[in-house]
Amino acid sequence: MLERTVQIVSNERDTDLYFRLVMRAPEMARDAQPGQFVHLRVAAMRDALLRRPFSIYQARGDTLSVLYKSVGKGTDVLARMGPGEELSLIGPLGHGFTLPKAGGETPLLVAGGYGMAAMYMLAERSPQRGIVFAGGRRRVDILCEDEFQKLGWDVRVTTEDGSYGEKGLVTHPLIAELRRSAAGRKLFACGPTPMLKAVGKIAEEFKVPAELSMDEHMCCGVGVCLTCVIPVKTTDGWEYQRTCTEGPVFDASEVMWEMPK
């Protein structure tokens, strides 16, 4: 974990909603692991005081990249920044994915929207290839398809509006695939909470292991404020754990989807 003022190398539109931000951050790039994130300070705006968390998408040589969707105040300002401008970054943060082992379980990656970013780094670093289930609402929400394919992954696309790939939810082809064969496979997922929940239930049903990158609102990003907690099963009941520190990646079997009474 480091804090650095970094320079933007490039910040370009990917689809009409998403941007690829490349920053010069050699030390963080060196340390980054799939599933980890950076905590980024955009500007001292009135309504956006806090840093924003973004999964690390690529770490290559001196540069670190994120893939972000412009959804609000902070990402709006970010999208208007350009090469040479500076940002403050804390990272790499959090507990990432367990890297699949060569000859181990076959990884099935499930990604929704910007969840593709974290999945890409995992796909790239995994010594073993598998299948990527990429889902989104519309065609523009499908990111990095080519890049996954170039890495030798089998990409199955779904969109909710049917504008690209199979029409429906990303979990449909996943279930079909697991019905064909579940043994020796492991799920890795990153995306919106309803998707994660569905993947968790599917893992339980098919008795396959699963790691989920949880999407919770964050404030400090480093474990001090206790904003980002989720209830996690423990040997003697449950406790709140920090998504930014104990997570964002949790074992699906630990995650409690309903708040305990």
Partner: protein, 304 residues
């Protein structure tokens, strides 16, 4: 140049501390900054037993601020001692422990436990918690309850005692004076302000707890006023806090009458803030030839 100040019998190498609940238990930020540069580390509020805290969402960002309703999640006295004390007690700077309870007895018991621990820099009484026995009034908004808590803790420990006042009062002077009269060595001003935010799309409060405490730059002008009022009412030192994000902010508090300051919410967005404040304070003093930080305390000039 002298930067050191005293809070009762506790000497700080400089007047810049961190605010309880915004710096965890020190260890988390120790990878980003050298804690031994600080005036003191102040840890998240601790009661006797472990506390799960509130459901999420627990924080929401607002204009120049943050509302939080963490619900004082914490490991309790034993959990804290086991998990965090080895790290904290090895620091060269004092650790101040923020404590709370729902009864006067619990406050006193927590104070006794930390007194017995040895090596604790001081105790900060967080009095913004409801008193269960007296029917849920806050200790911090009832002068008599407040006096009772301070009195009981004063009896329970010889450690430097800091009373952290609630801002939610008509006038802060009587509360400051009650804490002083009961033997508090210092005051901390201010805690967060009761606040609320609504998500108009879902018609739900933005916090699971409905209401929370407002902190950050937005509260600074009110906090300065409270420190200024309290400083006129008491002789004990005041730790000023509320929205500090620069040395200039810290100097505002010193000039208003604070002897020390604490950086809170700013840690979340800029963990280096506390070091920047120390460096900036030193620079300010150098530029103006001020050789002792205590000369800044209460130095605002108000025409009569």
């Amino acid at each position: 140049m002298n930067l050191s100040v005293k809070l009762g019998s506790l000497t700080l190498q400089n007047p810049v501390m961190v605010a309880s609940g915004t710096f965890g238990y020190g260890v988390e930020y120790s990878r980003l900054l050298d804690l031994n540069q600080l005036g003191a580390v102040v840890v998240k509020g601790i009661r006797l037993g472990p506390v799960r805290g509130n459901p999420t969402p627990r924080t929401v960002e607002v204009a120049s601020g943050l509302i939080n309703a963490i619900g004082l999640q914490g490991p309790g006295v034993d959990g804290f001692i086991k998990k965090y004390w080895p790290f904290l007690s090895a620091l060269k700077v004092p650790t101040i422990i923020n404590i709370w309870g729902t009864t006067v007895e619990e406050y006193a018991e927590v104070a006794r436990r930390f007194d017995a621990l040895g090596g604790v820099g001081g105790l900060e009484l967080n009095v913004s918690c409801p008193n269960i026995k007296e029917g849920g009034a806050q200790f911090g908004t009832d002068v008599k309850l407040l006096a009772g808590v301070v009195r009981a803790c004063r009896k329970a420990t010889k450690l430097p005692l800091i009373t952290k006042l609630s801002p939610n009062v008509v006038s802060i002077a009587p509360y400051a004076q009650a804490a002083e009269a009961e033997g508090s060595d210092a005051l901390a001003i201010t805690n967060s302000f009761p606040a609320m935010a609504i998500d108009i799309a879902t018609r739900r409060p933005k916090l699971a707890n409905v209401t929370g405490g407002l902190t950050g730059p937005c509260i600074k002008p009110i906090a300065i006023k409270l420190v200024w009022e309290a400083a006129k009412a008491v002789k004990i030192p005041i730790i000023g806090m509320g929205g500090i994000e620069s040395a200039a902010d810290a100097i505002d508090f010193l000039m208003a009458g604070a002897t020390a300051v604490a950086v809170g919410t700013a840690n979340f967005y800029e963990p280096q803030t506390v070091l920047q404040v120390i460096a900036g304070l030193r620079e300010f003093m150098q530029q103006r030839g001020i050789d002792d930080v205590r000369k800044l305390v209460g130095s605002v000039q108000v025409a009569k």
